[in-house]
Amino acid sequence: MSFLAKYIGQKVKRTEDPRLIQGIGHYVDDIKLADTLHVVILRSPYAHARINAINTDAAKRVPGVVAVYTGADVAGKVGNVPCAMAHPELKVPAFGVLAQTKVFFVGHPVAAVVAQNKYQARDAADLIDVDYEPLDVVSDGEKAAQPDSPVIHEEFGTNIALVHNAGVGDIDAAFAQADKIVTQRLVHQRLAPISIEPRGVLAQYFPGEHQLNLWSSTQIPHLMRTQVSLMLGMPENRVRVVTPEVGGGFGCKLNVYAEEALLGWIAMQLHKPVKWIEGRRENFQATIHGRGQTGTVQVAVKNDGTLLGLKYDVIADIGAYHQLLTPAIPTLTGLMLSGCYKIPAISMKCTEVFTNKMSTDAYRGAGRPEATYLVERLMDCVARELNMDPVELRRKNFPQPDEFPFTTACGVIYDSGDYEKALSKALTIADYQKLRDEQKAARAAGRVMGIGVSTYVEICAMGPSAAMPAGGWESATIRVEPTGKVTVLTGVSPHGQGEETAFAQIVGDMLGIDMNDVLVVHGDTAVVQYGIGTFGSRGLAVGGAALVCATEKVVKKAKKLAAHLLGADEASLTFEDGKFVGAPDDKSLTIQEVALAAHTAASLPEDFEPGLTATHFFEPKNFTFPSGTHICVVEIDRETGELEIKRYIAVDDCGNQINPLIVAGQVHGGIAQGLAQALFEEVVYDENGQLLTGELMDYAVPKAHQLPRYELDHTVTPTPVNPLGAKGVGEAGTIGSTPAVANAVIDALAPFGVKHVDLPLRPEKLWRMMHN
């Protein structure tokens, strides 16, 4: 359908903001129910230990304490923490909501204290006496895979959870034909997602109705309802999950943790509302981490720079247990090893191993930043080996725009793309040749300057259901109410992405109404039809697509009624700017007038259902593949190793944009997180499995003065996969930026003979490289 784009493509200020800037929105901890009891979880201080005994007597005597629960109380009553990946060879250890006979990581939940206030609960937790017998700790992923390593989960006889092979093409032939083989070992360090709002759950049970309400800070309310109902043996339709404001997710709330079902169960025992709000230290210990791959990449290449093949042999250190998507994340790396290049043969062997650490899972990018980092880092290594400009090497291997849809040797089909266009634009903005001249002059003057380029492509808009563990479609319902106000119920669950605004823009334009008349409702399983949620850059590209289809259905229905009311032939009517026109005598009806008539139902066509509402479940036929070029310019202080980002240029192609203001915000935030991986952040466990970066004091999330001003631009290559032509933008910045920064730093250090440095590139490390 055609419509006037009054809102779409405009920098519309967000409708979410007024409540948030005034502090009157409601996050989980802001919801106060009368008589709420507070839960504190006692967690293991050991990475691996046997629990010989737990004494809770002293804790139970603390004034205000109502109950203390341990593993024995929940055994057989609350199901295990779920893993969504089904694979016949995958080893899945039973992950109870409270530890049973052993603890397997620092932060493993051991007991839950329930008290009238959180001070009492915390006091009591300190008085629980646990007799631990420490066991051998496996804290290194590579060592865990060795046959002589202690075994964490004895029932499997090995720490290897899964060996995943990916890629197609004749890899041996590719390497046999190579003029050069470039090899590099790479570490993708563990990262902590760090949403500023930690996790939190509020549970309330109504015994008469046998109804459990859970308020949870999650990205997936419906999937959580399904899983929690299974864990508690509750009928799914008697569990309601409400997602109020969510203070950031970045993948760490794309999960079902022990605490949701545990709190639900406690509420059912005590018949009182119970609340648990995660502390930051718990957040570091017991909320999923991201990345955590260590591997060797080999690239086979001709002397002229033609890429022939790529091999990646990697250990993924997944932690002690599977959370929802833990084992699936490294497999996403395997889908994107072709980068934005033509590589005829690709092969990945990924060994996923258990260690005595918190689980890894989806953190912004989820498996794809690893792929982009290794491909882009290797492109620079190859360029150096062949004495080619890294830009020319990339350019030489791009698929051309007329080669799309482009099938890679990873078995995925890139929907659309024009990689050269974004690259040229970024080079022009950066004035690349001039930068290289400046670099020569800087080096001659003894300064340490580097230029890094990353041309990336990512797999987004997750995704076709056949490739997803629990459905990849998304749902939308649109209701034109009798007064003409429009209510949208979306299955996605935004937590900062601004979809209340973007979806209202879409409906405002499609129905030709004021976007302020559109209310977008999400995150309540009792109100909204089943949905999948917000992750994998899918909110707009899949959820928005569902909304477009639902809106088209509503217009189609309204048109039938309008034709009846106007005495016109349906085919002669058109819907323009909110009105059905083209009837005899220039008569017309607005969508609001039709909505009222549809509800009063005084005169309806035959077989016409009253009301004006439509629902659509959109199933994407493919993923989308956003792409772009990032360029970073750095200078390093020779004396201190301190690094300054002189310029950061990002040209992204996320297809059509609904709200460029929101797109810019997503790109900025994404770059900041990717850059944080390159320069600052790392989750560190010691050899005893102790978490050394257990606070924001020790884990270096960047502040405003540590980040540069970003120079953004875009190219627009719409996707044919959905009716919006939008590809998704939530993860682009994170995926594109890490290698751009790393390449810039390593380029700066080239005069010192440095070919590669593992992340994070902190001053001390850089200083050592320069002073050898």
């Binding site: 937790a125 404001e245 502390g279 230290r281 203001l661």
Partner: protein
């Protein structure tokens, strides 16, 4: 907790520990305090260890002040105490006795947004909104000291506040926008 040999953990055992330093404290220890929050006088009878942020959120019921770390690093709980930004998770309520506290809810007057709130809206200075109240209060404190800050002064002035969503650029733009408006 009894540790059965082995290496002593370097990390605290329990989730968040800052409040549990005195498990043997006497229940009857309570202190009466009086303080002004957003221009309204409040009396409270509290334990000496009670944090200002819990007083604001759980006793007074103003939930716009958020808790992000309870270790004074993230700044989500920033409020103004006697005009100066403080992290209310690291201030005991008794320390605010007799003081004047301004929270995010106290900024808008007569239905008019404060210029800093308006600026954050205008410049897309927030996404999930969780750090936003603390960020806005810190920015207000910054402009009191430095009414017309440079970009560098803004970035350094906000180094006590973490935002995980925006990459800070739109926040910096917002503070500049508000400064220009407030000076004009």
């Amino acid at each position: 907790m009894r540790l059965a040999g082995g290496v002593l953990p370097k990390v605290c055992m329990c989730g968040t520990h800052i409040l549990s330093l005195h498990p043997q404290r006497k229940e009857e220890q309570r202190v009466k305090i009086s303080l002004s929050i957003n221009g309204t006088q409040h009396e409270a009878d509290i334990e000496p260890r009670f944090l200002l942020v819990h007083l604001i959120r759980d006793v007074i019921g103003l939930t716009g002040t958020h808790i992000g770390c309870e270790t004074s690093i993230c700044g989500a709980c920033t409020v103004l105490l006697d005009g100066k930004p403080v992290k209310s998770c690291a201030v005991l309520a008794v320390q605010a006795n007799g003081g004047q506290v301004t929270t995010i809810e106290g900024l808008a007057k007569d239905g008019q947004l404060h210029p800093m709130q308006e600026a954050f809206w205008e410049c897309h200075g927030l996404q999930c909104g969780y750090c936003t109240p603390g960020m806005i209060m810190a920015a207000c404190g910054l402009l009191k000291e430095t009414p017309n800050p440079s970009e560098e002064e803004i970035r350094h002035g906000l180094e006590g506040n973490i935002c995980r969503c925006t990459g800070y650029q739109h926040i910096v733009d917002a503070v500049k926008y508000a400064a220009d408006k407030m000076v004009a």
